[in-house]
């Protein structure tokens, strides 16, 4: 039993609670935040290695045997997400030191970040469907707090839509979980997978799966459920936008991968055409939205939507190759998207506005920032040999292997339009002559540059080390689909039906 799986949850939770109590001591709160996040990062890295070496890690909350208690399961996908989440949070915290004002720190900015980390980490580790719902709510409400923190009119307006639409998604999740409990009588994902695989007439299950598709799809920002994202993501602190932009939609994708890859395997095959259509529409609508925007963060926000489509495509291909590419793409996107928000945000922070019209001159003024942007945006577009290329290539290969010509065509075309709108930012913010006199503008210090530089470096490393990254993604994808071994790992060799309620050790 891998009881250590609780650590990346307890540490942020207790840190956040303690930080809440001593919130006035900014220095200590920062130390706590960094320490807890570092712990999670280190733990995540260790877990990556451990899982590669010894396979899935499983433990039971309160020791109750699965499927009766709540199971924590970490596989390759969990570990990837865990480590990236911690990395993003760490980078965001670093960026926040330079950008977030003291009043927000007083109002629980760092505790909320840690609680978001707590919620996300829990969502990546749980092996219980209802527990996943709880984790989703934790990370959602933490994100609610962060997105409205500051209380500007835009935050309140955008936040209201963000909150309401996400709550609708949550309700769908709750209903879906309830229906599934009604139909299958259990909540443990391994047990659910075991039971659902024996259902002959699965049509009702398909309907139930629909609730999860909508619930996770709305969290992931799939069409037509993404509206909350572009309306709110450009309103809060840049650091918050960056973290959300990199992370939150991917929790939805993670849940799609996990629940549809494991629990609803046969439903996945049935829903695959729908998922591919949704993926294609999401790519297109997102990139069209991005083309229309004239504000750095709003362009990037629409790009999130577009790229979530690629990840959904990885699922819709219903193959290990497809999911491998999807996971690779997701890992790439988490890093690069955050980097872009941080860099664009730094330009916004320095210029004082994110409106393209009123920006400019950054290439001459801040060449380092320009270089980072160039690398990150080419990575996003999928220019080889940066990370995005491998994700895109993997999706194209997997799609062609299954003769899904249309989605491959859409995916390729959309990346051209992605390039177009990234060039728009580059032209307007960096290449164009400065809109106003920049001589009084503050210089980008290490505090603004370093966080993005770290992420860009990670992205480049992931590109050069594409082989091991891909290998790990493949391992993760196989583990997601391998329900037989999941059942064995969670419930023992005889399957979940044979387990009796007891404290296991």
């Amino acid at each position: 039993m891998a009881h250590h799986l609780f650590l990346p949850l307890i540490v942020p939770l207790l840190s956040a609670s303690v930080a809440t109590i001593i919130v006035r001591q900014h220095g200590w709160v920062r130390v706590i935040a960094v320490a807890a996040t570092l712990f999670n990062l280190g733990y995540g890295a260790w877990l990556l290695v451990t899982i590669a070496a010894t396979g899935r890690q499983v433990t039971q909350a309160a020791g109750w045997s699965a499927p009766f208690g709540i199971t924590l399961v970490a596989d390759g996908l969990s570990a990837i997400m865990l480590v990236l989440t911690a990395l993003l949070t760490l980078v965001t915290i670093g960026y926040s030191f330079a950008t977030v004002d003291a009043r927000q720190e007083r109002f629980y900015y760092y505790p909320l970040l840690l609680l978001l980390l707590f919620g996300c980490s829990g969502a990546f580790l749980t092996g219980d469907l209802f527990n996943l719902y709880v984790w989703f709510e934790i990370l959602l409400v933490a994100s609610f707090g962060l997105i409205t923190l500051g209380g500007s009119r835009g935050q309140l307006e955008g936040g209201l839509k963000y909150v309401v639409l996400n709550l609708f998604g949550s309700i769908c999740f709750l209903v879906g979980a309830g229906l599934l409990y009604g139909v299958a009588g259990t909540l443990n994902m391994a047990h659910l997978a075991e039971r659902l695989s024996t259902i002959q007439d699965a049509s009702l299950v398909t309907a139930v799966a629909g609730f999860f598709l909508v619930a996770f799809g709305s969290k992931a920002g799939l069409a037509p459920l993404f509206f909350w994202l572009p309306t709110s993501y450009h309103t809060p602190n840049i650091a918050v936008t960056a973290l959300f932009g990199g992370l939150l939609t991917k929790v939805g994708i993670y849940a799609l991968y996990r629940v549809f890859g494991t629990v609803f395997q046969s439903e996945l095959a049935r829903l695959a055409p729908l998922i591919l259509v949704v993926a294609g529409v999401t790519m297109v609508v997102g990139v069209i939205g991005a083309m229309a925007q004239v504000n750095v963060r709003r362009i990037l926000a629409f790009h999130i939507v577009s790229q979530v489509g690629y990840m959904a495509m990885g699922l819709g291909l219903v193959s290990v190759a497809g999911m491998t590419a999807g996971i690779l793409f997701m890992a790439h996107n988490i890093v690069v998207k955050t980097a872009l928000f941080l860099i664009g945000g730094a330009a916004e922070h320095l210029t004082g506005t994110g409106e393209l019209k009123q920006m400019g001159g950054m290439a001459r003024r801040e060449p380092m920032l320009a270089l980072l942007w160039l690398l990150a945006s080419f990575a996003l577009v999928g220019v080889p040999p940066l990370t995005g290329f491998f994700g895109k290539l993997g999706l194209i290969q997997a799609g062609l292997a299954q003769e899904q010509w249309l989605i491959v065509g859409v995916a390729a075309t959309v990346s051209l339009f992605t390039l177009f709108s990234m060039l728009k930012i580059w032209n307007e913010v960096f290449w164009k002559k400065a809109y106003s006199d920049l001589s009084a503008m503050p210089r980008a210090g290490v505090g603004l540059l370093a966080p993005a530089a770290v992420l860009v470096a990670v992205s480049i490393a992931m590109g050069i080390g594409a082989a091991p990254t891909l290998e790990y993604s493949a391992l993760a994808a196989e583990q997601v689909f391998d329900t037989a071994s999941l059942v064995r790992d969670v419930c023992g060799p005889n399957g979940c039906e044979a387990v009796e309620l007891a404290v296991g050790h």
Partner: protein, 117 residues
Amino acid sequence: MTLILSLVVGTLFAGGIYLMLRRSVVKLILGLVLLSHGANLLLFLMGDGLIKARPPFVKPEAGVAPPDSADPLIQALILTAIVISFGLLTFVMALAYRADQAVESDDLDAMTSTDRL
């Protein structure tokens, strides 16, 4: 009774959704309230049947709760869901209140500035 309660669930969802499609923030909140009521009631239907007067308590003489008592697990889930939705709904209320204050209107259609192109 399952059928009747299913229909009741349906009306809760229909009413909730209809309210959420209106323009008033208060109706929006009430719509969410109805939706979460609907979800809770729906969950309740997913237990082991609707059982009257046999709550899931351990009978002292038997040492176990009767197997035909109401489903304790679904009740625990609903309890969790009720409390969670209480927290979230309170958040929505406060947020809607602040938005209403900042925009000076309780008309949701007036809150479109972040999407304006």
